[in-house]
């Protein structure tokens, strides 16, 4: 009998996949989306899939979005699966975000930040009214160009205030510092270093981090952040191939960086100052970078001697539940056949019921007759 059901399952699965494929295509009289169209016209979805899929490849991310019918979490899963098929050549030199060619750079904390407030291509200040003109293909918008480009290297907010000790200064890493933790090669270990936390948050689900950040801001966390700086633009990626022995530039990628500032009331060893939370993502994704920065700061509560009583401050809670491929897999596996589990539980509950009835009958001799009458 089991044999019959397996064969039936195979045909049903294959037919389900074919229907899925037809559904993905939708109405055949409507022109099919190309991967190029998704890549260029749904670029923020592409950016999110690249970051959470942990693979900076706009074309692959666009393909994944097309294949997943626009289900971003499913697309992330596809990209994660693909990246496991490629061998790794090594790790890059750390990207230099202070040298970013910025398309956008704003500070909500410091109006007169050197280099200026550069709005870039932002949804901020749009009225969030549906633009029905987009229902028809019309002429594309054209960006205005100033005579002179922006300055090449925008100073970071930390460097602007470096002469005062009011802002936490990031200590440069020593040359013999150990290789950063890599969660794709090493099991999660606690207590986690900031390197481990930041890698997990960077790959983490945007919605999960957004909710944690929001909760933290509303009081379920002890951060009262200000946005020190957000910047988005191109950074150069440098890599040292083993066979060359010197670093070479291998391309440019777009990243979004966020520095959140929270005040710290000081401790026995440290004077009061502002501390930073840090967020960095592939592509243009401020919501994610800001959420990441707030959560990063909340997870640093021990360093600054804060009580860690909230979920956002609990690194095991945050890191174990931030990955949407894992989360989605564990939740969604529940819809796969659990016939044997359920059979076992049925027998267990039946036995409990029988014991419960017997115990009741023993305690009140009349109860059994009512029960039988009811059946």
């Amino acid at each position: 009998m089991a044999y019959v059901s397996v064969k039936g399952g195979e045909r049903a699965i294959s037919n389900a996949h074919q229907w899925l494929d037809e559904m993905r295509r939708g109405d055949a009289s409507v022109p099919e989306l190309t991967v190029e169209q998704i890549r260029h016209q749904m670029s923020l979805a592409v950016d999110r899939v690249m970051m959470e899929g942990s693979c900076y490849d706009p074309e692959l991310a666009a393909l994944a979005i097309k294949q997943a019918r626009g289900d971003v979490t499913e697309a992330i899963f596809l990209v994660r699966a693909y990246r496991t098929t490629l061998q790794r050549f090594g790790a890059t030199e750390p990207i230099k975000t202070p040298e970013m060619a910025v398309q956008r750079r704003v500070s909500a904390a410091f109006k007169d930040i050197p280099g200026g407030q550069i709005l870039g291509p932002t949804f901020d200040y749009t009225h969030r009214l549906l633009n029905f003109d987009l229902c028809d293909a019309g002429p594309a918008g054209v960006a205005v160009k100033a005579t002179e480009p922006v300055v090449e290297k925008m100073p970071t907010i930390a460097s602007v205030f470096a002469h005062e000790s009011l802002l936490e200064q990031t200590a440069a890493e020593s040359d013999d510092a150990p290789e950063p933790y890599d969660l794709t090669r090493e099991p999660m270990a606690f207590p986690a270093g900031r390197d481990q936390r930041l890698q997990a948050l960077a790959r983490g689900d945007e919605g999960f981090l957004l909710s944690l950040a929001y909760a933290s801001q509303r009081g379920w966390g002890s951060t009262h952040p200000l946005c020190g700086e957000i910047r988005m633009g191109d950074v150069t990626v440098e890599f040292t191939p083993e066979e060359l022995g010197f670093p070479i530039e291998i391309g440019e990628i777009v990243v979004t960086e966020c520095q959140m500032i929270s005040n710290f009331e000081g401790s026995a060893d440290k004077p009061p100052q502002f501390t930073f939370g840090y967020g960095l993502t592939f592509g243009h994704n401020e919501r994610k970078a800001m959420s990441m920065a707030i959560v990063d700061r909340a997870l640093r509560h021990k360093e600054v001697g804060e009580n860690g009583v909230h979920a956002v401050q609990d690194e095991e809670f945050v890191l174990y539940h931030s990955d949407n491929v894992e989360a989605s897999g564990f939740v969604q596996h529940l819809k796969l056949p659990h016939y044997v589990d359920f059979q076992a539980q049925l027998q267990f509950v039946r036995r409990l019921c029988k014991e419960w009835r017997e115990a009741r009958e023993a305690a009140t001799p009349d109860a059994g007759e009512f029960a039988e009458a009811a059946e």
Partner: protein, 161 residues
């Protein structure tokens, strides 16, 4: 980056020249690189030392841009290694999955190391790519500059009256 007149007679000078060629090819779109190479005549025959292939590099960041390192995510990279008849071996690594792009990077890396090719590579490939790159950079920089906020302070306006 501006000067290509480094003294390639020194190890350091040759390394700088090679780094410049790598950077220009890797940062230019693959089709732009292909089209400048297609205009070159009698390019050297190449012998591949390793099948050109695609893999990943792990991109790293630093906390606050300057502090502790951490792993951000991965980036597909194509790589190639080849030899030209003049002797030098060229190695190419470029972001993306385009093997042809990586082979052209490797070819350029080999040509920079060959006296007979260096100047022709500069003229035919590197200079046009550098110009294209500078133009795209300036273009983005000018669009960004147009979105710069010009604050005018009410206080000063009132004070001037």
């Amino acid at each position: 980056m501006e000067s290509h007149q480094e003294d390639v007679a020194t190890t350091e000078g040759l390394r700088l020249a090679r780094q410049r060629a790598h950077a220009l090819i890797a940062k230019s779109p693959a089709d732009a690189v292909r089209s400048v190479f297609d205009l070159m005549e009698n390019l050297p025959e190449v012998e591949r030392l390793r099948p050109s292939e695609v893999g990943l590099v792990l991109v790293r960041g630093r906390v606050g841009g300057e502090g502790e390192r951490f792993n951000l995510g991965e980036l597909p990279v194509a790589r190639a290694a080849l030899r030209i008849p003049e002797g030098p071996v060229g190695v190419g690594y470029v972001a993306g999955r385009n093997r042809d792009h990586a082979e052209l990077a490797a070819l350029a890396d080999a040509m920079v190391q060959a006296d007979v090719w260096r100047d022709r590579l500069e003229e035919g490939v590197l200079a046009p790519l550098a110009a294209g790159l500078a133009e795209r950079k300036a273009d983005t920089g000018r669009k960004a500059a147009a979105t710069k906020v010009d604050f005018f302070t009410m206080v000063r306006t009132r004070g001037e009256k």
